[in-house]
């Protein structure tokens, strides 16, 4: 903090670093202190803008996060003084002024306060009274590091549309008084399931992209994994938190092998296993082990275990499909769904022969929930083809192709259809 003027690019780098590493933490602290999402966000934005000038003039502070927190709180006080329409304005001003009179930022040095603040924010962003797309957008915006524009591109909607969605969610939080706290013990398991669902949805949107640009999608996967890591730090005693993180890491490890250099989709059994990220796999397996040690089985752990079996086999033929079929059975008992039943049918088909698989799959063909579900027809085709019914397989492939919204996936289905003839 000498009188020297800092070089502009060093200051920019420090601000970028503070934005990436500290913004979400500062925001969480400030939301608790001001009790209002929008006000806190605006004030944090103001503080980062002020940092550009002040840090360049006075040097980068020793603790950038604490500086931003103090600056943001002062901006919040200014904004509150100007805005008469905020509810409980006087109480909030008094509390903020009291905090401002303290000499240091106690919360910045207190790990448990940071954890509590972020945890509260997780439950607010993933509150069931917000519509799912808003939960996803808010989580990425507030807890992740994505801008509204990036989220809009990732979900293929216009930026103003995404902006409105986020603004509306924040307004509902304020107007309906969606609380900013960790739910009570009796509600916690249910609400935590809801949080994990939001994170998994973000990951899936990136991983199982049905359409759109690959690059932005990868960003969603990275962001979901970061959120999963955050949750595992915040709630290390929950087995499913680790299960979900393991599942995402194990899927993500195969990211590079899922699409070939020309952009074509590559099915699991045809993937170049040397492209799998072994570090990520080890990391995923370690998280899964940690989950299993807590002895509270759940759907994400089961899915991660299935993925682990697929990955650990030397090749597709040597995969323990019987064990996978059993895990799908357990998953179906826990969370009955036609999609899980479909996966079980495929595993049984690979373990015990196509006839056994087809027997389980046949009833699903009449399920209205799966009527437009492309993977059902692709799996049907695969099993028919393995059973020697090329004509039936061709019909099923055609159905799958007609339902596919992803060019890479469609090309793969067309290749398989061509291989039948």
């Amino acid at each position: 903090m000498s009188g020297d003027v800092e070089p502009a690019d060093a200051v920019s780098a420090a601000i970028a670093r503070a934005f990436r590493d500290e913004r979400a933490i500062v925001l969480a602290t400030l939301i608790r202190q001001v009790g209002d999402f929008q006000l806190a966000e605006d004030a944090v934005q103001d503080a980062f803008e002020a940092a550009v000038t002040v840090w360049r003039r006075d040097g980068v502070p020793a603790n950038p996060g604490a500086w931003i927190t103090t600056a943001a709180r002062r901006r919040a006080i200014d904004r509150l003084r100007r805005n008469r329409s905020v509810a409980d304005r006087a109480e909030r001003l008094a509390e903020l002024t009291r905090l401002d009179a303290q000499h240091e930022e106690p919360s910045m040095n207190d790990e448990s306060t940071i954890v509590d603040d972020r945890l509260r924010l997780v439950f607010t962003c993933c509150h069931p009274a917000l519509e799912m797309p808003a939960r996803v957008a808010l989580t990425l915006r507030v807890l992740g590091g994505m801008t509204t524009g990036e989220i809009a591109r990732a979900f293929l909607v216009a930026e103003p549309t995404m902006g409105k969605r986020i603004v509306r969610a924040k307004r509902k939080i304020a107007d309906a008084r969606i609380p900013y706290r960790v739910p009570a013990d009796e509600e916690l398991p249910d609400r935590l399931r809801g949080v994990l669902r939001v994170v998994y949805l973000i990951f899936n949107e990136g991983y199982a992209a049905t359409e759109g640009d690959r690059l932005v999608r990868d960003e969603l996967c990275d962001e979901a994994i970061r959120l999963g890591e955050l949750l595992s730090r915040l709630m290390p005693d929950d087995a499913e938190v680790w299960g979900l993180l393991a599942l995402m890491l194990l899927h993500d490890a195969r990211r590079a092998a899922r699409v070939d250099p020309s952009g074509q989709y590559v099915a699991l059994d045809a993937q170049d296993r040397s492209l799998w990220d072994q570090d990520r796999i080890r990391e995923g397996l370690a998280k899964l082990e940690r989950a299993v040690r807590l002895r509270r089985p759940g759907e994400y752990q089961l899915q991660a275990a299935i993925t682990a079996l697929q990955i650990q086999a030397p090749d597709a033929e040597a995969t323990d499909w019987a064990q996978i079929a059993e895990l799908y059975g357990a998953l179906g008992r826990l969370n009955p769904s036609p999609v899980v039943e479909l996966n079980r049918a495929v595993a049984v088909g690979l373990a015990a022969g196509p006839a056994a698989g087809l027997e389980l799959l046949e009833p699903l063909l009449g399920d209205p929930a799966l009527e437009r579900y492309q993977p059902l027809y692709a799996a049907h085709a695969e099993l028919l083809s393995r059973g020697g019914d090329a004509e039936g397989a061709a019909r099923a492939y055609e159905r799958a192709i007609a339902l596919s919204a992803n060019a890479v996936e469609r090309a793969e289905l067309e290749r398989r259809l061509g291989a039948l003839r």
Partner: protein, 137 residues
Amino acid sequence: MSQYMLLVYEEEVDPAEQAEREQVTPMLVELHAGLREAGLLVGVQRLRSTESATSVRVRDGQTEITDGPFAVTKEVLAGYYVLECADLDEALKQAARLPMAPWATIEVRPVMPPDEWLNTARRAGVDLSDEDVRNLA
């Protein structure tokens, strides 16, 4: 004497048109004061827009919470509660406890506090005194 509930239904409009509607607020202040004086007014509250609504149902023993107001189908309004709650979670919890929740939908709408009602009208350019808030609601 009998009690009657007057339910106000309106289309939600854009901010410009809403600002025009706020112009009736002085008439409301006067009307409510008159009704109160005549001993007719039991209570009046303004609700926040449906953007802040949440619907609660209990089906197969599970509480279902959805964002948004109740979509009108063949169900009709059968009654109402006004609860004082710490936050939305408390309100949703109480809504799910209603014995009608297994067949009904409970739309949970935040009530706009009287001073905010006043401020909403003021922002639309209506001239009102702080005293008016006592007559308004």
